[in-house]
């Protein structure tokens, strides 16, 4: 919305011509489904970057280890899981060293989990912005995902290091990684939008999110291979979009044979459903945010 207006403004200043005869901003009460206005979100992309930049800048102020935290979190989880499931339980890992196996799953999982947790609380945390300035509200949860993507990139370096250590070359399907990242982000955004919007009205969500993420972690074949799950359960496993992402990651990078195969198509469809419904729900509830915060 801003761009065409600005063009007109420049004209008006130079030629002294009149502003547009049609309103540039129309405000009406809405009911039913709101238009998506994706173009407007695009106009505000700089704000999206700035909000992400702010989060990153502020997050490591007055910390001793700084950006190393982005690496330490998944690495710590890997160590714990390797000790418990790899050593103690002796979990099967499709012929891959267990630390590498679990880290390849944890990497996209962290991207997803962090995105969901941060975006779910993003609106409530930015109350002061939402009640004082107008911009497409979508920018706020979206910016949290941008931050998670950065952490993901940093943590990805560790995976490369681990693969080098165990002498495993990347499999031929590395090209699929961006697509899988896209699926993880799409799912996280869909879930995050739902939770963020609901959180504005029901602050219970804030307390639900940690349980949701912890439960979801164990429903996804991260610490265990899907080959361990009885065949009859495979369809149920594939309904979880993150199953597809995690399985896909191991297939694309470590060359494991995806146990679920075609069922993964289902998980892609679920991602799409979650994302679209999340965006619609968010747009639908967006108009009451300022009144409820």
């Amino acid at each position: 919305m801003t761009e065409p207006v600005r063009a007109v403004a420049a004209d008006a200043a130079e030629t002294g011509s009149d502003p547009p005869a049609t309103p540039t901003i129309r405000i009406r009460p809405h009911s039913g489904l709101a238009p998506l206005r994706l173009r407007e979100v695009w106009e505000y992309r700089e704000l999206l970057y700035f909000l992400a930049w702010r989060t990153i800048k502020v997050r490591y102020k007055q910390t001793l280890l700084g950006a190393a935290w982005a690496i330490l979190q998944p690495v710590f989880a890997m160590v714990v899981f390797s000790l418990i499931f790899g050593r103690l339980v002796g979990m099967a890992s499709d012929g891959i060293p267990y630390p590498l196996f679990v880290y390849a799953g944890l990497l996209p999982w962290q991207l997803f989990a962090q995105s969901v947790a941060e975006s779910a609380n993003s609106l409530v945390n930015n109350e002061h912005l939402l009640t004082k300035v107008y911009f497409p509200r979508f920018v706020i949860p979206a910016s949290t995902i941008l931050v998670s993507l950065l952490d993901f990139t940093v943590a990805g370096a560790v995976l490369a290091g681990l693969m080098g250590y165990y002498g495993i070359a990347p499999a031929g399907a590395v090209w699929a990684v961006p697509l899988l990242v896209l699926q993880a982000v799409g799912t996280a955004l869909g879930v995050g939008l739902w939770l963020a919007a609901l959180n504005v009205r029901y602050r219970d969500i804030r307390h639900v999110v940690p349980f949701l993420i912890q439960g979801w972690l164990f429903l996804t074949p991260i610490v265990y291979p899907s080959s361990l799950v009885p065949r009859g359960w495979h369809l149920a496993l594939a309904l979880n979009p993150m199953t597809g992402v995690v399985e896909g990651f191991r297939w694309a990078l470590l060359g494991t044979k995806p146990e679920l195969g075609g069922a993964l198509g289902i998980s892609a469809i679920i991602t799409l459903v979650v994302l679209v419904s999340g965006v619609l729900c968010f747009r639908r509830m967006e108009r009451t945010f300022a009144d409820l915060l």
Binding site: V8, T24, E46, H128, K132, R284, L292
Partner: protein, 419 residues
Amino acid sequence: MTMSDIAVRVAGLGKRYRLGSRSVGGTAYEAIAAAVRAPLRCFSRTPPPEYIWALKNVTFELRRGEVLGIIGRNGAGKSTLLKVLSRITEPTEGAVDLYGRVSSLLEVGTGFHPELTGRENIFLNGAILGMRRGEIAKKFDEIVAFSEVERFLDTPVKHYSSGMYLRLAFAVAAHLESEIVIADEVLAVGDAAFQKKCLGKVGEVAKAGRTAVLVSHNMGLMHALAQRCLYLRRGEVAAHGEPREVIEQYLSETINPQDANRPTLEGYRRGPSADLPVAITGVWCGEQSRGVQRVAMGAPIAMGVALRVLKELHGANLTITLKNAQGERVVVLFSWDREFSLFLPPGDHVITVRIENLVLAPGRYFADVGVNRSTRSTAYDVIVDFPVFRVDNEGHVIHWLERPWGAVHCPTVTWKTTP
């Protein structure tokens, strides 16, 4: 008025809030919410929701380049109107059309982060207010010069004094480019010198042919800047038109001596809110309990100011400025001038002053009262435009004086014709 002259058109605007939960209701979504809550119904019987119209049937048009001042008591719907105009909240009914790019300043420094430096906050705040990165970079030097914080640009703003913080925040806001400006009582920040600069900037906006919608309790400012005024009373338009007439009506309604609801001080306080060593707890004329007083023309005027001192005062200065209904200063009293300084221990104190030989024209009068550190202009606490008394004409046939013809002083005069 041709179509292209219009910058803002507001028609039948209404905004309804539900009391209690502060939600807006009556949608399919509400039904889902009710279903979610249903299990709890058996435990708590919720009374039927009560609604309140924060705005009702507000209609006006603004031409390009016009400045509209919105006045009204606290809670009259001024801020709600600005929020609807700036798209922060959606109206319940009615329509708004805005012709041109809008910048809204409901607060200065929105999105400022204490951990970030001044430089970083300029970019962040600019982006939040809708500026492009290139635009901010282009205006960066101007913004910094205006804010007077050059030396501290790379210091986190959490180390700034509150004055520096506000100056920087205002500086960013002042450099927004837009055809329509919407601003809420953000105009006067910082110390006196910077306030003057801010007001100058606002005046520039008005003169540069930009359309503006301003909310302020400063009637003098409204007089000076607005071409038109809109007086909101409990969400509805009580008056709309010439600032002079609208302000007059607003003031006469809000300080009616018969009004049992005596104005409380809170709506008039403009002091820095945090950590006041002293707070003004009362301002009155005559007797404290009686509210706005009628004063006979030419009679001595006694005024009282109650102070609550929290930290011992070592020579503070009390200033009282009396203003007429047009916002013009009539009398300025500095206690300092009379070598009267406040040396007060913590506790409640009352300061009284008696003003003689003051023959004011009939009408309503307002007081600005401030407690200042004597050596500097820093204000501890300030009360602005507080209605204090009304001068009656006591049977003199001078009705015309109540008209705003600029009369302030009413000396005793004798007319005579000599043959």
